[in-house]
Amino acid sequence: MCEIRLSGDAIPFFCHRCWHTIQAIPAPTCPQCSLPFHSNIALQYSPQHRCSTCQTQRPAFSQAWTLYPYESPLKEAIKLFKYQGKISLADPLATLMITALGSLPDIDVIIPVPLHSTRLREREYNQSLLLAHRMSTYLDIPLNYSILRRIRETPPQTSLTKHARLQNLRRSFAVKTPQLLKGKSILLVDDVYTTGTTVNECAKVLRKAEAKHVYVVTLARMIHG
């Protein structure tokens, strides 16, 4: 990254210094989707003040924590982790998530955002599952990666415009055994939060299965402007 030779660093591919430049999104943020606000005033008077997106269209999830800005060097780390098969980054990235995560409400089950089986076969692993797995171990909350399925193969969200993204994922997800989720609190794990469409679609189907709460945690968030 910074072209310093790596020797014996705990984190693969990145030097100590670069890694420590990764800083969590600072407060204040939208209490529902964690969108950072420009100034402190936003939350000063009404702590439940939501961002405009959440206000216009209420997301299906109860709350989302989008922990870090999707910027260099985390961006590079996620790309390596996701697209280049560098699964050795799973541990340090999950550690990042765990350290930035504050206190959580009671959660019954952790569910990763699934990949379509075709994509899974290409990539050989689901990056969200790997993160979710580490979190589940750390939080001592059961992990369930088979209940939520992606049933439609869609082009990657990153390749589409905002409007197309919304359309793209319609009816892409399904819950296999809805009765198991009834009244449960769920923590949905994904790697990057861009417009929130993906997690929102997931949350929708989970809610349909009568889940009590759907919380979302993502490692990074794309911040516009």
Partner: protein, 869 residues
């Protein structure tokens, strides 16, 4: 920033590892020349050091980088010198060429096995002579014929043998076996034959795993027996060759067909087999795993990825195959490379194929630096290098940090993609190995471009997997027959059919001159530039054109020095035997005799062919067999088969021996007429040149008399064809094996009994010492064609003495190597060259270093430019 990120990441390790590896290689090469160019090497090292320092000053590289490169470079030089000077202190040399001695030592390399013999490299520890035992160090290459016993690396052996100096023939541009062995640190050779001649003692140290190797040997025997019982030729030969590394059952015809089609790497277990098996197992396992139900796959991915799992499964399979194949040096080399590559895959760094290659090369070279000059080392590494580069470039052209969303491609499309890539790889391998193959084998196997695309998948994905499965079956069930024999047989037969059919395509076997080393460097330089300058398409284009021009020039291999004013006579070094090539001013070529043909060394193929190709000669206008003796005509059948021959001349004597029958058979199949030479005939004449027969005297049409079945050697020798070539002011008297009787008759021909150049009759034998004839000679040069350490004691000391008395300089092919004389028709001028002149001489530091080094530069220049005149 982000776009450069990914490329940095994958270029990272290479950037660190490759320059030191390359500089170590360069260091080794420099080291091998340091004895001949001490001053120049020192200056060069100094210059490189200063250059690196300068770049460091300019900020183009860090001190660390610069110093690691320099240290590796000097390390290479020192390493080579250390290994070689280590050998120089070996005292094994003093036992060479004395009476037979008792040798005790340890087998240090994997033993090479051929049907009837074992070749082992022995590190000698003691020499016993009479009652005394002397501690000794040095490497011995021991050949054991008909031993019928297994010897393995690590065994101690004891043998009574006559040690000899490694010796090979020396010819311009030719491969010099003796030097080759010496360069590998082997200063003595010996051979014994018969069971029990070598006492093998179980290994003591080093190999605690020898029981395991014996077990593997047992497996191999079991498989061998099952295969022999169930398969027929040629499938049997291919099966044994490919699966357990036994070459003995492959017929020469099949081998030549594979050679011609550029697929010879298929029939012996080489890197390509291991690579193919690794590829197959890897992708089969991966494919299967990825077809698991999603939940399984996700469960698995929490523990291990499909890629890692496949690497894990591939490794034992490849190791098993290497062991079964006999773990020869080439196999071990590929095994190391594949193992490193699998480790790279495991670490998710499979892009570092080049680094894996570099590390494998260094591992091989550190233990044995001389292998850098090994043909098989060079060929296999350059081939893998080519494959690695193609894969690398293919990767680079793909998008780096995005997965492409591709609609699932159809079967046909992906097959087409694969074929295309396979062809690119074949093209790259052919291109990169082409100069080496042309240099070492005088061949351009262009057909490999087509045949490999068909043959390699057939072998790699059908034959070997099927064979290995059958082997597993045999080993697991203890079955005495090979399962699926019919299928094995059918596939192998198909393969042989395809290859023999391809080999019959006219022009499939295309022989060329050895490219000069300088041109090879230029060629590789251009190729490298093409690979490196991907961003300069125009420049790349220029380089590609350059490559094409060189390729065209090489495959054309024209005779560019036909000179209407020069005649050239070459006495080739064919060991104990005769072979003389006359090149007349009008471009006509004449071969007189073809040297001997040992079972493993046909001088026609090993010396005469390469020499002619190097001269750009593809047609022999006249071939003369002076008399049917093995050391004169043994190599001729091969010559007749491989060259376009105008006329064939002999002395008409018929013999019953096998070599003669073979020769007659070949004359018949070539459709040649046998011209019987008799005194007074003019075999060739053109302008100012004429080749006349001086002996034997024979009545025309009187052939019955010569058909006596067996004749004494003396009669045969006296009946040999003596010829005289006259060209302007120059004359050459070629006396074949004439003995005293024939020489006396020759002595009566007052006008023709001498010449400016005389070939000494009968290798300087005592029975051909005719002092009267020698005394009348007014020759300026005499040449004797004779083999080193021959068992006849040729040349007889009195003969050498007789020429010395007449003050005629005597050139000897055993000491000087090949001798060639060029003469200008317009003048009396005549120049004589020997192969020995080309040999670099060690520069002693206390003598005239500069002068000696300068002479070595001259020799090196002539070697590298391939200048032969």
């Amino acid at each position: 920033m982000s776009s450069s990120r990914a490329s940095h990441e994958c270029g990272f390790l290479q950037f660190v590892i490759l320059p030191p590896i390359l500089s170590f290689l360069l260091g080794l090469i420099l080291g091998s020349y340091v004895l001949f160019f001490p001053g120049s090497t020192f200056l060069l090292l100094l210059a490189i050091g200063l250059g690196l320092l300068w770049r460091e000053q300019l900020g183009q590289m860090t001190l660390n980088q610069g110093s690691s490169i320099f240290v590796c470079l000097v390390g290479g030089v020192v390493w080579w010198v250390a290994m070689v000077s280590n050998q120089a202190t070996d005292n094994l040399i003093q036992w060479v060429n004395v009476s037979p001695v008792q040798v005790v030592g340890e087998v240090v390399d994997p033993v090479r096995r051929t049907p009837d013999r074992l070749v082992m490299i022995v590190e000698v520890s003691h020499i016993g002579q009479g009652e005394e035992i002397f501690p000794t160090t040095g490497l011995l290459r021991l050949t054991w014929r008909e031993g019928h016993q297994v010897v393995r690396q690590g065994n101690y052996i004891e043998v009574l043998a006559q040690l000899r100096e490694p010796y090979g023939t020396r010819n311009p541009g030719g491969f010099e076996y003796g030097e080759y062995l010496k360069r590998k640190g082997i200063h003595a050779v010996a051979s014994v034959s018969g069971p029990g001649k070598v006492q093998v003692r179980a290994s003591t140290n080093l190999w605690e795993f020898s029981w395991f190797l014996e077990e593997v040997d047992g497996w191999r025997n079991q498989v061998h027996q099952a295969a022999v019982d169930t398969l027929d030729d040629p499938a049997l030969g291919l099966f044994l060759g490919m699966i357990i590394g036994e070459q003995s059952f492959i017929t020469p015809e099949v081998r030549e067909a594979f050679m011609a089609t550029g697929t010879v790497h298929i029939i012996s277990i080489s890197g390509s087999h291991l690579g193919l098996i690794a590829f197959l197992v890897f992708f089969c396992v991966k494919g299967c795993v990825l077809r698991f139900p999603t939940v399984w796959l996700e469960w698995l991915s929490l523990r291990v990825t499909a890629t890692r799992l496949s690497a894990m499964v591939t490794f034992p399979v490849v190791s098993f195959y290497s062991l079964l194949a006999g773990a020869e040096i080439a196999t071990i080399r590929s095994w190391i490379m594949i193992a490193l590559f699998l480790v790279a895959v495991w670490l998710g760094r499979e892009k570092h194929l080049l680094s894996a290659l570099g590390i494998a090369a260094i591992l091989a070279l550190v233990t044995n630096p001389q292998s850098i000059y090994d043909t098989s080392f060079q060929l296999s590494y350059s081939a893998v290098l080519a494959i690695a580069l193609v894969i690398q470039m293919n990767r680079r052209s793909k998008k780096e940090d995005q997965e492409l969303f591709m609609p699932s491609s159809t079967w046909g499309e992906s097959l087409w993609e694969r074929t295309k890539q396979a062809w690119w790889i074949t093209l790259a391998v052919t291109l990169v190995t082409l100069p080496l193959v042309a240099y070492y084998f005088n061949q351009i196997a262009w057909l490999g471009l087509l045949s490999n695309v068909v043959v390699v998948p057939l072998v790699g994905f059908l034959m070997i997997p099927l064979g290995l499965l059958s082997v597993m079956w045999v080993l697991l069930t203890g079955s005495v027959t090979l399962p699926l024999a019919a299928l094995n047989q059918a596939i192998a037969d198909t393969l042989v059919h395809i290859v023999t059919w391809l080999a019959q395509i006219p022009g499939a076997v295309w022989h060329v001159a050895s490219p000069s080393i300088l041109m090879i460097f230029v060629f590789y330089g251009l190729l490298l530039t093409i690979v490196l300058c991907l961003h300069l398409p125009k420049f790349q284009m220029g380089c590609a054109i350059g490559v094409c021009v060189i390729l065209f020039w090489w495959s054309w291999s024209p005779r560019f020095d036909i000179d209407a004013n020069t005649v050239r006579v070459t006495f080739l070094d064919v060991g104990q035997g005769d072979a003389t090539v006359l090149e007349l001013p009008n471009g006509e070529t004449i071969l007189i005799d073809g040297g001997p043909a040992y079972r493993r060394l046909d001088m026609g193929k090993a010396v005469i062919g390469p020499y002619l190709w190097d001269r750009g000669i593809r047609r022999l206008d006249y071939v003369i067999a002076t008399h049917p003796q093995w050391d004169h005509v043994g190599g001729l059948p091969w010559v007749l088969r491989s060259f376009d021959v105008g006329q064939y001349w002999s002395n008409g004597i018929v013999r019953e021996q096998e070599f003669y029958q073979r020769l007659q058979q070949e004359i018949h199949t070539s459709g040649l007429k046998e011209h019987v030479a008799s005194k007074g005939q003019e075999i060739a004449s053109s302008g100012s040149c004429a080749l006349k027969v001086l002996s034997p005297v024979r009545e025309i049409g009187d052939r019955s008399e010569t058909l006596k079945p067996s004749m004494s050697g003396e009669v045969l020798n006296n009946q040999s064809i003596i010829t005289r070539l006259d060209c302007g002011h120059h004359s050459f008297l070629l006396t074949a094996d004439a003995e005293v009787d024939a020489l006396s008759k020759l002595n009566q021909l007052l006008d023709a009994r001498s010449a400016r150049v005389v070939k000494v009759p009968h290798h300087g034998a005592k029975s051909s010492l005719h002092r009267g004839w020698i005394q009348q000679l007014d020759a300026e040069v005499a040449v004797v064609s004779v083999g080193q350490h021959n068992r006849y004691g040729h040349p007889y000391p009195d003969v050498v003495e007789a020429y010395a008395q007449e003050e005629i300089p005597l050139y000897r092919t055993d000491l000087d190597g090949a001798v060639w004389i060029t003469a200008n028709l317009d003048s009396h001028e005549m120049t004589i060259h020997t192969a020995l002149e080309r040999k670099l001489q060690v520069v002693q530091l206390n003598t005239a270093v500069l002068k000696n080094e300068w002479e070595n530069w001259g020799r090196l220049w002539r070697q590298w430019t391939g200048e032969v005149s």
